[in-house]
């Protein structure tokens, strides 16, 4: 099973365009990433630039419309992720609890959907 651990930094919607995490945090994060690697569970990870540098494409009335950040009205925006392999949701949660986060941060643990989870008609539509 695969899980994505989504990092939701506190108040990331207000982060400045040139925001970067501190050297201290990066050092802790690197150690944490190493522990995931050494345990053989880490599949991939990325950090995302602040939402102020992002764009949102909204779909409405059959049209797609792009808007540039910031999105001050939005809350709990993703700042990065880890993709890990785990035996259960509990194991993924256990890994998440060990991450070096700042006060007020959130990690959302989401299981990757597999095509096998879909009913047959949906699988057929996916060419399966």
């Amino acid at each position: 099973m695969r899980f994505m651990m989504l990092v939701i930094p506190k108040a990331y919607e207000n982060a400045k365009a040139d925001f970067v995490p501190s050297a201290e945090l990066v050092a802790k994060m690197t150690k944490y990433n190493e522990s995931l690697t050494k345990a053989g569970v880490l599949l991939g990870l990325e950090g995302l630039t602040p939402p102020v540098r992002a764009a949102r494409v909204k779909f409405s009335g059959g049209k797609a419309k792009a808007t540039d950040g910031p999105f001050t009205e939005a809350k709990e925006l993703v700042g990065g992720y880890w993709m890990i392999q785990a035996k259960s949701k509990q194991e993924a949660v256990e890994w998440a609890t060990r991450a070096p986060m700042l006060d007020g941060d959130i990690i959302e643990v989401r299981q990757v959907q597999e095509i096998e989870d879909f009913p047959e008609d949906v699988r057929k539509a996916a060419g399966r």
Partner: protein, 416 residues
């Protein structure tokens, strides 16, 4: 809810058990005793954590508890005072150092884990015993999970593990990392066990299911752990590369009804590109410039040829034949010859391929191997010798033990 707590403890166990057992084994010098102590600590956690909650550092809690039990046990058994003192000092030393990621502790843990892997895969044990013990001690799997994975009764696996521990103790196998000339052979034994676990998941030898992805994941996890512990060993990276690339096809090699889909018929859009990338990166680590390729690295390089081809037609079969030629030199086996025949058939036409296969028909090791007639049937069909091809596919179908594979082979017989 108690069951939530139990699931959380199971998760902690999965993460911590190998390091816990390894650390204890170094202290007591016996993996059997170490595992018993670790199990005692697990029982204590199951009793206490549902009420107290999971401690902040569950790994350290388990280690401390297990060591206390160990000391109690030693006292009860009135073992040598010296040994007792040693264990006591060890306990104090461990408690003083923060369980944080201090480099020295990391090295020690790494060394303990490696010793545990080498002990579990020790040549005094049968391959079956090594496999069960490795999954149990390193993979954190329960006896029931191992039994389910290999479709044998739980009692059989339990027996196998008990006997394995007894054998290790009787043979006085030291808890250590082999050095010097010994290391190569011992490492080969470890890699063999990991790949065996992977293969049982990748193409199950028995049962109704053609693949069991959880076993592949267990093997991959073990391989990745090992690659971090002995990064200087190219063949470890070769094995990891091979498993990552093969696992990238897991979703594509099973059809909607659970039937196997052969490599060249697979929808390559369904290949897992994350695993492909990981595999190619591991292959880069294995194939350092100037270094000779070992057998796993060669197989990974072959798998990479397929992974890099966006369509079957783009496959570099000529390179694959060269890699199989090298593999046949380095690690000759009837199976390698059979695969070499397939590659020659693809690169240079069915006749050169059939020539290699025909040399194998008297090979005793392949007498009951279903893929020999399957490959031969395929080459015969390409040569327009349909009646012979049909007979070969039917023979292949009668030899396989896997229900899904049998159906596929019978379908090919009907088409020939």
């Amino acid at each position: 809810m108690a069951s939530d707590a139990h699931r959380a403890i199971e998760a902690v166990w999965r993460i911590e058990s190998a390091r816990l057992i390894a650390g204890l084994a170094r202290m007591v010098g016996d993996v059997g005793v170490a595992e018993d102590l670790a199990q005692d600590a697990l029982v204590a956690a199951l009793e206490q954590w549902p009420a107290s909650g999971v401690p902040d550092n569950p790994g350290a809690w388990l280690m401390t508890t297990a060591k206390r039990r160990g000391i109690d046990q030693l006292r009860r058994k009135q073992m040598l005072e010296r040994k007792h003192a040693e264990l006591g000092t060890e306990l104090e030393a461990r408690q003083e150092t923060a369980p944080d990621l201090d480099a020295a502790i990391d090295d020690q843990i790494g060394d303990d884990l490696l010793s545990l892997i080498f002990t579990a895969c020790h040549p005094v044990l049968t391959t079956e015993a090594r496999t069960a013990l490795t999954l149990r001690l390193l993979g954190g799997l329960t006896t029931e999970e191992i039994a389910r994975a290999f479709l044998v009764p739980t009692a059989t696996i339990a027996q196998r593990i008990v006997r394995a521990k007894r054998t290790l103790a009787a043979a006085r196998v030291p808890f250590e990392v082999p050095r010097g000339a010994d290391l190569g052979a011992r490492l080969a034994s470890v890699l063999e066990v990991i790949y065996l676990v992977f293969n049982e998941g990748y193409s199950a030898t028995a049962g109704d299911e053609w693949v069991r992805p959880a076993l592949c994941e267990d093997a991959l996890r073990l391989g990745r752990i090992l690659a971090e512990l002995v990064p200087q060993e190219p063949e470890v990276h070769g094995l990891v590369a091979l498993m990552e690339i093969q696992a990238s096809r897991l979703r594509a090699r099973v059809g909607p009804a659970g039937e196997p889909i052969l490599l060249l018929d697979q929808d390559r859009a369904r290949w897992d590109q994350l695993l492909v990338r990981r595999g190619l990166a591991a292959l880069d680590r294995a194939a350092a410039p100037g270094g000779a390729y070992g057998p796993y690295t060669l197989q990974a390089a072959i798998a990479a040829c397929h992974a890099r081809a966006l369509t079957p037609e783009e496959t570099d079969w000529t390179r694959i034949t060269a890699l199989y030629d090298a593999l046949a030199q380095l690690a000759p086996s009837p199976i390698v010859e059979l695969n070499r025949a397939v590659a020659y058939g693809m690169a240079f036409g069915p006749s050169p391929g059939l020539e290699i296969v025909d040399a194998l028909t008297s090979e005793p090791a392949l007498k009951d191997y279903h893929l020999l007639p399957a490959v031969r049937g395929d080459l015969l069909k390409k040569l327009g010798r349909f009646a012979e091809a049909r007979a070969e596919f039917e023979r292949a179908a009668s030899l396989t033990h896997n229900a899904r594979e049998r159906a596929l082979l019978l379908a090919r017989a009907a088409q020939a």
